[in-house]
Amino acid sequence: MLLAHPRVRTLLSSAMFALCAGFSVVIVAVLGLVTWFLVSRGWAAMSLDLFTKLPTEDLNNPGGLKHAILGTGQLLLMAGLVGVPMGMLAGVYLSEYSNDSRIVGPVRFTADVLTGVPSIVVGILGYELLVRPLGNFNGWAGAFALAFIMIPIVARTTEEMLRLVPDSYRAGSLALGATKSQTITRVVLPAATGSVVTGVMLAMARVAGETAPLLFTALGSRFVTFNPSEPFPSLTVQIYQYATGPYQGQKELAWAGILVLISLLFVLNLAIRAVTSRSIRSRVGT
């Protein structure tokens, strides 16, 4: 009956507001703290050398991370070339083609479960499938592991985004005599482009930060390589190795590497927002 008093209700409302605002401030503060911490540590080691030099034997002057940056770039490219089309096509199937819940249900459930599989498990899978038969750690296995993580994410986000496209577009297209595949490629997918791209970029961002799967597959290397049949460098693994090593110079380089990685993810996130807001503005009508 305390609630019957208007002053009590007003006070409760203000308290709730204070709680929400307070926690929001806390979150922003934490983010700010972490960012400051990283930047202050990593900035010291930042230089152009980071991007242009290879690691050296001199442990006090450890060189750069050029090999790792190129390595991550290549792994993302390879994983993306396989993961994105497969994921998108699976997403299209789930959304557009199958009406039979006996197929769709299990497939969707499987995809959902796979998005939660610990990445180290994926790494071990990659080891068994592509490292042991080939005899050595290699970039193919690394790309495979990353693609494996990527596919269910892309499939589910593509499916969800396609479902958001109004049925009236499909009906309109079919009534004009378009086939189902024409309807999908010319109307439905373009209508969902922004959001599908967002899903792809989110998957990329997730995968760019993975370390465990690469430890068992690509292993790591201190040389620039464009040959995926040998051990392959990556930013995340290199950071791990330097950070857990005993040499101060390398540790500083690790901080710089972290800064680069975080900046990459930050830029990716901004790009996601830019693409999404533009596509929302152009798709939403009267």
Binding site: N99, S168, A171, A175, G177, A178, G285
Partner: protein
Amino acid sequence: MKTPAATPVPTTASAAGPIRVGVAAGAPGVNMLDAIRRGEKVTGYTHKEVAGEKHVLSIHDFNLYYGKNHALHDINMHIAHGKVSAMIGPSGCGKSTLLRSINRMNDLVDGVRVAGEIRLNGSNIFDRSTDVISLRRRVGMVFQKPNPFPMSIFENVAYPLRIVGEGRRSRLEEAAEKALRSAALWDEVKDRLKGSALGLSGGQQQRLCIARSIVGEPEMLLMDEPCSALDPIATLKIEELITQIAGRYTVVIVTHNMQQASRVSDYTAFMYLGRLVEYGPTAKIFQAPALTETEQYVTGRFG
């Protein structure tokens, strides 16, 4: 096709067949709508003027089931070439269902079963050999809520041509202009063809959808309550448009608005609970219907 009985007909259905109804307006006798509500088989009354027209579409003993629900009962109807035919009736009477059967859009609904024939220029559209895709190119459809694609105005109108492989810019531009002019939209959009179609007003969007549905030169145009989502001014423009394009196109329009039917159409069909009750020239249906039941509906005695 069926002449009205001069005297009242028996009130009970005989085992031999359907009740022959066709009671003249105002005369006492069997109430057909009661018979329909009781689930008895009835035969609708079709005025003889319909037979005199050239027919582009013929519907024979057409039945449709949504799962167990018998939605359309023994529909027999001929649509006159080059005329506007309206379908009126209270909600749930099956007029939209019948319309959507003509271009087989009901195929997209799970659990739909049909019996009977619908012949477009002689060939049954439910034949196994019928190519549904080409059927839908020959029979255009405009929906209740305008549904332009999220593309430019030009791309919307060009869409039906692109999907059949027409890629030449000049052909597309020529056809788009012609269709937009026919839809009375050209002057309003000619300077912003590249603009998004979603930026148009509701009435303009619907006219765009009409342009899009006629650009492929279909034989028939189906319109499912095209004005019900629009304001009165937009409605008026579209009604004028329909009157203008009739003659070149055969139009079948479903409408909730009886006044619209009387303004726009040459023939009107009154449907009730999935049956065709009366079908004839619009003037007759609204001013001198053959059946009391029709008169009761068009004078607003029930809705």
